[in-house]
Amino acid sequence: MNRYLTPSSPEGSSGGSPNSPGSVEIAGIKFAKTPRVLIAKPGLDGHDRGAKYIAKALRDSGMEVIYTGIRQSPDEIAITAVQEDVDIVGLSLLSGAHLELFPRVLAALKKQGGASIPVIGGGIIPEDDVPELLKAGVGAIFTPGTRIEDVISEIKRLLEK
């Protein structure tokens, strides 16, 4: 037996609504399923107001947010991302170690079988460092003052890439 089941196939819709049941609309943007987002704090800084703020904002926009707590190693973040099957990983960092830690999270994700999971970052990150992080494979960097709508549309862009 080798069948593909999709929401649009007759088996999948089985008399249900024409819209796929999993699809959701968030801040006016349509997602194929409820996005699951991991908000993680790598490294040693313990200031998680920003991480908690973004977690709550994404929750209020309708996403499912998994929060790891502070002081997580790249491996711990990657294993969590894989077990939780998140669609995107958001890193919050205020310590200044982003050039070191963000690429290590990307490498750990690869090792754990989560190479396809996009990573975004936020926190206190100087403009000058952004090109290097993007080049290393980080999907987007958000600095203080970013509007939540922009984060959501950026998540959408990365999930469709």
Binding site: E11, G62, T68, S73, Q83
Partner: protein, 335 residues
Amino acid sequence: MKIIRSVDISQLTKLLTGEELLEGMSDGWRSRVRALSKAITFLESEPLLAMEVLSAIPALKSPVTSRVIGVTGLPGAGKSSLTNLIVREIRKKQKTVAVLAVDPSSPLSGGAVLGDRVRMQEHFKDAGVFIRSMSSRGALGGVARTTRSAIRLAGVLGFDYIIVETVGIGQSEGEIVELADTTLLVLMPNSGDEIQLMKAGVLQLADVYIVNKCDLASPARMINELHENTAPDNPDAWTPAVIAASSATGEGLQDVMHSIESHHVFEKTHPKGYEVRKQRAVKEILRALHHVVEPDFLALISEAEQNQLDEVIEGTRPALALAGELSKKFLRSVK
């Protein structure tokens, strides 16, 4: 879109059993864990396909050997911290464990913050521990609609224990006892007086009662009242254990582990144990029936005449009456 919107069931089966490895992965166990986490997402997004997927997995035809432990209780009573300690004890015995931690979804946005993991950080890197947070997605019984299927899928990987941590509950959310072999109810020393304990509901359903945080206040009164209110009338039935515990100091933890084991033995050897499992199966089938026919009935409702719906809205026709008619119509259509 990178999010998986379709699934090849036969391949999924092979990935779950380890017959095949995910592309680019050499570690068999890691690959299976990844497949499990993908499979749970798929069933969460497409609950109507759960039946197809679960009945297509040959490994699900052999009896489940995983022991399912439910951890339920008041919000903030220490369910996650206690779960963390139970996982630690299980790992000391070299047994593997999957944790399915359910947190509530927002009734306003449908979103959720799933934070039970924060209490279990010490196990993140342990390959013998799988932790999955689940949003209740509007379900009100304390667990998510997909939790049962997730238990079945985790069973395919042969975890020795599967712990289901419910959302923080009030008095009536007792669905967990339909899923778990052993249910622990976590309370606090000041959870309420005897009248609260005399009330019906989830307080009658647990197999083990834990008064947590006993380092903060004396649990003595609570323990006495729990003993009085949970002792079964039938001397043959399981007498629930009542344990004073503290996740902070580890007090009572060994008693909790011991009770989980004794309840397991009771259920496997006592005639009453079979009865309990049979009742559980009947309830599960009923709930599954509801899920199976729901789309058909939704379609029937949407086909119902506008004036019939209006009558229900206006209150001139009881919803029960229309439901009865639709049910008859449904039965005629399948004959």
